[in-house]
Amino acid sequence: MNRTPSLLAKQIRLYDQKKRILENISLSITPSRIITILGLNGAGKTTLLRCLAGLLTPDSGEVELHGRPLLSYSAKQRGQAISYSGQGYLADTACSVREFVVMGVTPYLGLFEVPSSAQMEQAEEALNHLGIGHLAGKPFLETSTGERQLAFLARGLLQGTRFLLMDEPTAFLDFRRQHEFFQDLRDFVCKNDKAAVITLHDPNLALAYSDEVLFLHQGEVLAHLLRKETDFLARFEQCAKQIYSERLTLTSTKHGTVVVWE
């Protein structure tokens, strides 16, 4: 039996009637890294993430958690292992931001239990850490989409799962917060031996912060690149060109390599 904690996609195939959404996707996710998924709109990024979270069941193939089918886990066990935040998701809830964040501890509560005041404080700390402590008492619905994305991150931190799945978590964040988000996440992932799987539209963020990059193209894996491999940058450029446009180029500057549009 495999002892390292892992989340595996095994030859996932998913069709919407006749339309191909995902085809033959295999992916192994192991801790202490950030994995980003790049691809055009409609490439299947969100669908793949939802399959990994157990929200969708593939037509064939399987998602395995620690060597056992994800479907064989209870909701509670799954909630302790995998967290997920959807893209631009508008939770229709009247609760405050603090209450929303503290909901992250729900998988650890008994059936009739409510979060303790210590857990409330944890939520408060997580919000402070992300620089949105002042929002704690604000109704969730009155916050901006960017603030909500940070609240989702705080909730994910509280949920304390090994695997964090996030669908375009930085799409609505300002420039500074996008980078702070990834720096925080990188620290958190390394220190706590977690794995984050993130879909992105910005190849520069992917290039700057990911340990692995998965290129999805029309529902199939175009390439799965590891940063530690020597030809990482060359292959990154090649895949990005293929997906986005030939006009895309990698340029090295004295601060590192960046993606530019010629």
Partner: protein, 331 residues
Amino acid sequence: MMVRDRRFWRLWLFMLAILCATIVLSSCTGRYAVTWQDLVSFLQGEESMGGSLFFYIRLPRIVFVVLSGAALALSGTVYQSLFQNPLVSPDILGVTSGCSLGAAIAIIYGSSQAFLVQGVAFLFGLLAVSLSLAVARFAGGDKTLRFVVAGIITGAMASSVLMLLKYLADPYKQLPAIDFWLMGGFHSVSWADIGKTLPTMLLASGILLLLGWRLKVMATGEQEASLLGINIKAIRFTVILCATLLVGAVVSVAGAVGWIGIFVPHIVKLIWGDDIPRTMPLSLLAGGAILLAADTAARTLRASEIPISIVTSMLGALFLIYFYTRKKKPL
């Protein structure tokens, strides 16, 4: 959190005080006048004609009315939260008409044993709510409207079967019994009725109150809740079961008491906001006080008693007119 907690308990105590005041007021009003001093002497256990009238007729009625109001309001509150729909309530989903049909069947084909009537009423209430939910699930279109249309369909089916039963019923013995019962009312409540329904009510409302946090998480969306480790199907089933049990317990004794389950939760939400762990205990108190006030009015406004549903429907309708017109955005 602390400030909000304190605010909640202050409101809760305030509502408790209103409920107690309503109970005292209701104890003193009625065809047999009871004064404040009488009340004290009854409670000290002095034997008197008035005392036994009070203890065996008025008091059980008051107690059961408060319990019923609390049960119906709680049931409405959890239905609204569970389906994230301001119109879903025991009345709209057809629970009440289902329970009524069940009770009528029990009266005609069974005996008038309270246990049987309660059981069959509950069973049909559950059947009605399942039918409504099934229809709503397969129907397309607007989420709010779907439940309402499904409920109307279920209600129509239940009432047509009920009419058939009435048509076939013995016009001298069974028909008046059914009609009398369908109007709803608390005039014949005895301590025995309370004894038979109280365990069900306590159990069901206890479970609902304890599930407060789960319900709150589920109110953020079922997908979110399942990702947070909540067994959606099991919780939803338990909650519907308990909420329907509450309605069934009331209907089996007092018949159909309309509208409490829809407008009391709205009042509580207007005061406190949408926060199910808190609105549940608040709606218990508000429901008890409002139904008791309505029942007291029903038995004292005229020499002969007015059916309670007339009072609660009027109250509910007036409130909903206010509620709908004050809000600019549609429900």
